[in-house]
């Protein structure tokens, strides 16, 4: 019998902590001989620091955080790996009710067609500039976050220049609804349930969603201290299996109500289940959802927990784009290597789960759900396109980086 291993993991109060929460609360960790304890943290900086000094063995992490650590952008030079993703999508861009009205006055806004909201926002931005008004302010949760990069991507592809036309500031996720209500920010890109909280209070309206900006786009990962992972390969494999089963449970519509109730607890999100359920069952997309194949948050289906190295490289390309790091072959390689599909595959082999055969894919190649080669059998992936139809081929990273600069104007 496998010995039990105690694992202390940090989480931030967000719906996509669900996999870790379900692994603990529904017995999946227990069944793998893992004593999983979760600590709710107040900042991503705390998650990073407590992984670095070994308080936490694992954590709910922003996808770009292990890359930032690998590139020396964090205080302690300590390697963090991402052997698993914690789902796809799950974020939204919410704007103040006032800004939404101004945007809507310029044209129709379809939440699932980011170009419509982007064009409307551009019209508002240009009008403000012509009238000599200060730039709008949008909040994101961290400079090294999917939120920052997808918001900037959406703006730039819509002809709006971040940092000139719109200021981007950092605020903690649970503070976003209040910051919007009090007018400190005009919009934000954040994970759930904080968009739904802002909408429910009347302060915000959803302008678009991450899963429409980049279908099947990556978000959080399981961040693990590399040294611990090396010394505890078996425990890590068991944790990955527990999280995989938890993801499967979270992805089953029969369990959505139960999951929302668990996440609503004060030690997790502390937000009513009626709000947390919106991201889980997709009802946040409202009347738009039924006519679309866009899934707001995918915890399991479509290889949602596979740590694609193409995801790591896209995050890296955006870190270069926005001046966080210089592009060198060594940097790109360091970014790619902190995502570890090899560990994921090895851990899940005993489950006979269908796993992708490749470790990277061309992002934007799949326009519809498509069966791909997997071991064993086949696996349905995608669609994985960017809303502006751009293609990210990880084998042509240099070209992609060169083409995205200069950004605009």
């Amino acid at each position: 019998m496998a010995a039990t291993t105690d694992i202390l993991a940090g989480i931030i109060p967000l719906t996509d902590s669900a996999l870790l929460v379900a692994a603990r609360e529904c017995g999946f960790a227990e069944e793998e001989g893992i004593g999983l304890a979760l600590i709710r943290e107040t900042s991503w900086a705390n998650i990073r620091d407590r992984i670095a000094i070994g308080h936490f063995q694992a954590a709910h992490m922003l996808g770009p955080m292990p890359i930032a650590a690998a590139l020396g952008l964090t205080p302690l030079r300590q390697a963090v790996i991402a052997p698993m993703a914690l789902g796809l999508g799950g974020n939204a861009v919410t704007v103040s009710a006032a800004l939404f009205e101004q945007m809507r006055a310029t044209g129709l806004i379809d939440v699932l067609a980011p170009a419509t909201g982007g064009a409307a926002l551009r019209a508002v931005v240009e009008k403000r500039r012509a009238e000599g008004m200060p730039p709008l302010q949008f909040g994101v949760v961290h400079p090294h976050s999917g939120h920052n990069f997808e918001l900037r991507y959406w703006l730039a592809s819509s002809g709006i220049r971040p940092d000139r036309d719109i200021d981007i500031v950092i605020a903690p996720p649970p503070f976003m609804p209040d910051a919007l209500a009090s007018g400190q920010v005009d919009g934000f890109c954040v994970g759930e349930p904080w968009n739904s909280v802002a909408v429910a209070s009347g302060a915000g309206r959803i302008a678009t969603v991450k899963s429409a900006i980049w279908r099947s786009g990556p978000e959080k990962v399981l961040g693990v201290h590399a040294g611990w992972a090396e010394r505890n390969g078996d425990a890590l494999a068991r944790l990955i299996r527990a999280l995989y089963r938890a993801a499967e449970w979270c992805g089953n519509p029969k369990n959505h109500a139960a999951l929302a109730h668990i996440l609503a607890r004060p030690d997790y999100l502390g937000v009513p289940a009626s709000l947390t359920v919106k991201a889980i069952d997709g009802s946040i997309l409202g009347p738009f959802a039924p006519r679309s194949d866009i899934i707001f948050f995918a915890p399991f289906a479509g290889a949602a927990t596979f740590p694609w190295q193409s995801h790591a490289l896209w995050f890296y390309s955006q870190m270069v784009r926005w001046g966080q790091v210089a592009h060198t072959p060594a940097h790109a390689e360091a970014a790619r290597r902190c995502y570890r599909p090899d560990l994921y595959r090895a851990a899940l082999k005993p489950l006979a789960a269908a796993l992708p055969g490749a470790s990277a894919k061309v992002e934007g190649a799949l326009k519809a759900p498509s069966p791909v080669g997997a071991t064993p059998g086949t696996l349905v992936l995608g669609p994985d396109g960017f809303f502006d139809d751009a293609i990210f081929d990880p084998d042509k990273l240099d070209d992609y980086i060169a083409a995205q600069r200069p950004t605009l104007g």
């Binding site: 004593g35 107040t42 302690l76 400079p143 903690p172």
Partner: protein
């Protein structure tokens, strides 16, 4: 003047804790100490004060915002390094255990910063909220060990597989609407009272 002690900005919503840190710094001869409770408008304050050292509690949710501010700052005195230096793991660990973090302007000598950090750590330890959080987590792990012992007991006395023992505990917990750890604890207690041997935790 080069011998002037570094200026310190303390960001703390906890007025009592902030006051004792300020008092400690004054006692140590630091005259240039500023306390900020509300982070609203802090960018302008930092630009005006140009502090050498910024101290902020880990429970403050604005660390990410502050770090970004330092990164973006175009000021000459830019607090970029965290803690004393990148290699000083012990200081970092002591600070995190105490629930405090510090940002220091690049180039400031270690011996000038260390006393400030040590003072912040000792004062923060008085408010060891983080310690309590860790304690809660440890008790959760303790519960897990109790479940293991109960499983071992069931495996031996009822000749069950580990899985079956766990399922039995889980079912009892669900039927009684109690936590598994509570059921496990009652089981161990009952076994002890009845003189049942085999409540040791070894199951491997």
């Amino acid at each position: 003047m080069s011998t002037r002690l570094p200026s310190v900005l303390v960001v703390d919503e906890n007025a009592v804790r902030a006051a004792i840190i300020e008092a400690g710094l004054h006692e140590a001869g630091h005259e240039n100490v500023t306390i900020v409770a509300d982070v609203k408008g802090i960018a302008a304050k930092i630009a005006a004060l140009e502090p050498d050292v910024v101290v902020i509690g880990l429970e403050n949710p604005n660390r990410d915002m502050l770090e970004n501010l330092f990164q973006m700052s175009r000021a000459v005195k830019r607090p970029i390094a965290m803690f004393v230096d990148r290699s000083d793991r012990d200081s970092m660990e002591a600070a995190i255990n105490a629930g405090v973090s510090a940002y220091v302007v690049d180039g400031l000598k270690r011996e000038r910063v260390k006393p400030i950090l040590d003072l912040a750590i000792s004062r923060f330890n008085a408010y060891s909220r983080l310690e309590r959080e860790l304690e809660d987590a440890r008790s959760a792990l303790q519960a897990r060990k109790i479940v293991d012992r109960a499983k071992g007991l069931l495996m031996r006395t009822r000749r069950l597989s580990e899985d079956a023992a766990y399922q039995l505990l889980r079912k009892a917990a669900m039927d009684q609407n109690r936590k598994i750890a509570e059921v496990a604890e009652s089981l161990i207690l009952a076994a002890d009272l009845l003189g049942e041997k085999g409540t040791d935790g070894g199951n491997d």
